[in-house]
Every structure is written in structure tokens, then in C-alpha cells.
Subunit: 337 residues, 2 copies
């Protein structure tokens, strides 16, 4: 297996991402191709005592798509960027998957232009996998590919999430819920009301509305469906709530001797909590609906986080997700409306 | 000052809410009228050694609007409910404010029907005040009154939030931000793009986009504007993130002797964190844009939380919020477009 890792365009320098790629490549015994500035990658490989060529290779790129670039324009104009060259390599079959911590909008736009979509899915969706207190992950789709959605698109997100849950996570009869602001039928906006009716009439096992405050605690469903704007706010708000508690706790104990001793005795527990809820361990969001394995990593990804994003891509390649997804979607479509 | 407290329709029994009302009434030296089942309220007052009449009085009601009731229908049909009778008492000037932990949609619908709106505001908004790590609160409007909004409504929420920040919280030049999924201009959906342009061209000090993950940490603005669906998801997601950390921490230490001793030594810190982030201390969300002081409390409000909701109402009455809000909105409107 051969994974392309875009080491440009993330917040951290490419040597950090190369380090993560080499580490996961050795661990999983897979080939990793690094797309980016050849000199920087070369130096980073040298630091990791790796000779380029063979298991770890370089795709030299002269341009970078930055976080602040307008997605569609950047993809059209920066033909020599790691993002465009990397997606081309995936389309042409030189690699099995594309992983990037760069500009999310540009990854989405580039994937649609270069890879095209599968099974008449008009818009791909980004799937996030969040740790919950039950020990099992909960899937949320879409978390940022589409800011304006139709009910039909939300139904497609449900289909794709269900296929992923079944084919990658091995969940037999994955249950879908609709992210809403109340548990009762009839709550929410027009988009949600229309989507509710379609999901209810459709072939997916559907549990109705779910609310944001208990998703990480009870994990009421396997897949949560929402539009990309709401999903992205949800994700960042959860992150904000978690950081608020942990930062406040740190500030509160500062200078209080007894509390600091207490914190020391609890350090193992804190580490376990941090690890359980860390995006670094869950650092890779598949873009579903395009014709190729694309995984979007957090812009702030370090070596550990980018490694876990590469592992997400590996699992998708191993199970042959794209074919299964296409078959799954056709199946839902036939059984549906 | 005379505050009406609707003790029906919340999740907790009315005796808990009466207890909270009596306690805050004594502390703030204000009159409280309890709307609900007269026998239950009478018993609860007896338990608090209070004789009905005078400072603490009863508005007897025969009906209850429940959480699952359809708002508009419930308000139209349940004329004898604590919600309808309480809002009538406010309109007729028998009380200065109305506080309820009941069905949010019904409070919004009832307030519009019975109190009417101020200053040509087509839709009122619910304002939440959230604790942040800076020690100052951040205001978010709307957090659930309107699931489908127009850009114009979002601009009104900004005006009302700014008036509240200035007139109730005493912030001189309150700064407004737009809740979005990226900091850059041009991010987000059509509603947000249109609202951004209007806020930028309008009279309010406007800081541009803000993102959900750092609102509670940096407090980048005084007022965050969003539609009620997104605002409600935001609020519940933050709550979910906070509960996830605290629950996980509790589970992690269970059975680990050293960690439990650590937790004991840290209990003061935990209590401080809990108090800082607790909705019970920040338990009352004003409904702005209707012609009367209306405060919506959390459905799960206990005596402490309902007391803090009553205090929110007191502050609004003290500063004469409704008149100031009406003048403020007229001012923004004149200086605007």
C-alpha cells in the first residue's frame, strides 16, 4: 500500500509531518510518498535516517495552497501545488490514498475536480469520528465540506456514514440520527424537518432526532447527520468546551500547594482523559463521496496526529471502501424512495 | 419590584422552584408571584414558613403547558395555563417581569402574542450569557427562538445584544462578532455571507467572524450573533464537551486509590471550576424584542438556577431595559442603512 502525504499547507512545518509519516510507515509497513518542497522533505528524511526512494519517496512540488487561499481559485491556478499533484497521483493510480492537513475547502474542491464523484453523489461530505464515554466512536457527517445543504444531500450523508460504519468499523446495522435542537418530532428548521421525513421514509435504520449535549456521553446512535456548517460549529464547540474545562482547571490549581499535589497524584488520570478525548488520536476525517480515498487531517496536526490520519486512510484502502461505498449507495438508492 | 415566576412546566417539581423564588425574594427584597397549582405552591410556601399574600403571592392556574406541547397550539388553547396567565399579568402591569423554566417555544410564542414586539422587530431572540476564562461573560444571541432566520433578523439580534451589553452589563462600546466556521471573510453559508455584509456596513462595532472553539477561552467579542438553530447546537455542544471531560475524569479515578486521594486534595479546585462554568449560576436567558421583561430558565432548573434567572430579570427591570432597548434599536436603525 502506498499513501501520499501532503506535507505543505498545514500549520506545522513539513519536517514534523515527515516525521509522523516515516513513523507510521515503519509501524504499518506501508510506503509513504511525501508531496512538498523536495529540499525540506529531503532534510527531514535525512534526520529520520531514511534514504529517499523505495518505502519513503518524494513528490517534488513548487507551490503551496495556503489556509487563506480561496479554494476553487487555488485549485485552478496552483497546478504545481502538493494538493493538485498529489490528487493527480491518486487519480492515476500511483498511490492508494491522499492525506492532507491543508486548506479543507481546497481539498474538497480539488477532490471533486480531479477525482470526480461516485454514484451520482452531488456533494461529498467530511466524516468526523469522535471518541465517546462509551469507548466506541460516534460518526458525524458533514463537518465542513458543505455550508449550504439540501435535504437530499443530508440523506446521502446518512447513506455514506452508514456504509462507512458497516464496512470500515464493522457495525452490523448502523443506526442514524439527525442533529437537531430538540428530541421531539417537528423541532428544528425547514431543512431538518424535510430531512427527517426523508430519513424516516428511507431504507436506513433511523432513530430520529439527537441533541448535541449527549452525543459524547450516551452515544445514542452510530452516525449523526447534519449540514456542514452546523457540524463544523458542533465540532468546534465541543472542542471549546473541553479546552475551557482543562484550561480552567490548570489555572485554578496554580499556586495552591495542596491542589497541585492532588493534580500530581491525578496525573495518570488526566493523561488518560486527555488521550481519550484527543483529536491527535482521532486525527483524520475521510472525505466521502469522491472517487478515491481522501483523508483530511487537522490543520494543527503534529507527527502523532498526521500518523493517525494516515492510519485512517490505510483502513479505508484495506477494506476497499470506495467500491463498497459505491455499491452501498446504489443499494440504499434502490431500496429507497 | 414584583417578579412573576412560572413554577409549572419545568422538569423539577414546583416546590423546588418555589424554594428558589422565596430565597431570591428574601435576598433581593423583591415580591415574587408564583403562577401554578395553588395547593402545591401553598404547601411549598408553608414549608418555607411563608404566609401567601404580601411579598410572596400565588396566581392560581389550572392548566400546564408541557415540554412536548406544540408551542403555538398550546398558547392558543391553554388559556388557563401559568404561562398564559403569567404573561397576561405582565402585560397588564401587575408584575414587572415573567420568568419561566417551561417550554421555550411556548414562552416565545406566548410573549409575541400577548406582549407584542417592540420597535418593529419581527422576531425576538434568546440571549445566552456564558462564563468565559477571562472572568467576563460572553453574550450569544439567538440560542433557540428562531430556527430559520433572515440576514435582517441576525442584524437585529446584533442590535439587541449590543443594547443589552451596554445597558445591563455597562460595556461602553460593545463589539459584535458573527459565529462562523472560519475566521476569513467569505467562509460559511449564504445566510452568514449576507449578514456579514450587512453588519460590516451597519452602525455596530463589528469584529467579523468568530469561531466556536475559542469563544469561552479568549472571549474575542462581547456579543456573538447566530441563528437560533446554530446557537442552540453551539450551546448544547459546549455543555456536552464540558460534561464529557468531567464525567470521564470521575470514571477514570474510580477505584484508583492514589488518583482518588489526588481528587480529594483537588476538590476545592473542582468546585471552583464547576461553579465558574455552571449554568446554575448563569441560569436565565432573556427573550429580547418583546414588550416586557421575559427570562427563560433552563428546563432542569433547581432552586439555585431559578434564583439566578430571577436575578437576571431584576437587573433588566432595574435599568429599564425595555425602554432602553426600544430607543437603542431606533438609534441603530437611524444610523444604519
Amino acid at each position: 500500500m502506498r499513501i501520499l502525504l501532503d506535507v505543505m499547507g498545514g500549520d506545522l512545518p513539513s519536517r514534523e509531518l515527515v516525521k509522523g509519516g516515516v513513523s507510521v510507515g515503519r509501524k504499518r509497513r506501508i510506503d509513504v510518498v511525501f508531496a512538498g518542497d523536495p529540499q525540506e522533505i529531503g532534510r527531514a528524511l535525512f534526520d529520520s535516517r531514511v534514504k529517499p526512494g523505495g518505502q519513503f519517496d518524494i513528490l517534488p512540488c513548487a507551490e503551496t495552497i495556503r489556509m487563506e487561499d480561496a479554494p476553487v481559485k487555488a485549485v485552478r491556478e496552483k497546478k504545481g501545488s502538493s494538493l493538485v499533484l498529489g490528487l493527480n497521483a491518486l487519480r492515476e493510480g500511483h498511490v492508494d490514498a491522499f492525506v492532507s492537513p491543508g486548506n479543507t475547502g481546497a481539498v474538497v474542491a480539488g477532490s471533486i475536480f480531479i477525482l470526480d464523484r461516485i454514484s451520482e453523489i452531488p456533494r461529498p461530505g467530511i466524516l468526523a469520528s469522535l471518541p465517546t464515554l462509551t469507548g466506541k466512536e460516534i460518526l458525524v457527517i458533514d463537518v465542513g465540506a458543505n455550508s449550504d445543504c439540501t435535504p437530499e444531500q443530508l440523506v446521502h450523508f446518512g447513506w455514506m456514514g452508514a456504509s462507512y460504519a458497516r464496512d470500515v468499523l464493522g457495525i452490523d446495522e448502523p443506526m442514524t440520527g439527525l442533529l437537531n435542537i430538540g428530541a421531539e418530532r417537528g423541532k428544528g428548521n425547514r431543512l431538518i424537518a424535510d430531512t427527517f421525513a426523508r430519513l424516516e421514509a428511507g431504507p436506513l435504520p433511523f432513530a430520529g432526532n439527537v441533541e448535541a449535549h449527549h452525543l459524547l456521553i450516551d452515544r445514542p446512535v452510530d452516525i449523526v447527520v447534519c449540514d456542514g456548517f452546523v457540524g463544523n460549529v458542533f465540532l468546534k464547540a465541543v472542542e471549546g468546551g473541553i479546552s475551557a474545562v482543562t484550561s480552567l482547571l490548570k489555572r485554578t490549581i496554580r499556586g495552591r500547594a495542596i491542589a497541585m499535589i492532588g493534580a500530581l497524584l491525578m496525573s495518570g488520570s488526566f493523561a488518560r482523559v486527555k488521550k481519550s478525548l484527543s483529536y491527535r488520536r482521532h486525527g483524520g476525517a475521510p472525505l466521502l463521496g469522491v472517487n478515491g480515498v481522501v483523508v483530511i487531517a487537522h490543520g494543527r496536526s503534529d507527527a502523532v496526529a498526521i500518523g493517525s490520519a494516515v492510519e485512517v486512510a490505510c483502513r479505508e484502502v484495506e477494506v476497499g471502501l470506495i467500491d463498497r461505498l459505491a455499491r452501498g449507495i446504489s443499494g440504499w438508492r434502490e431500496h429507497g424512495h
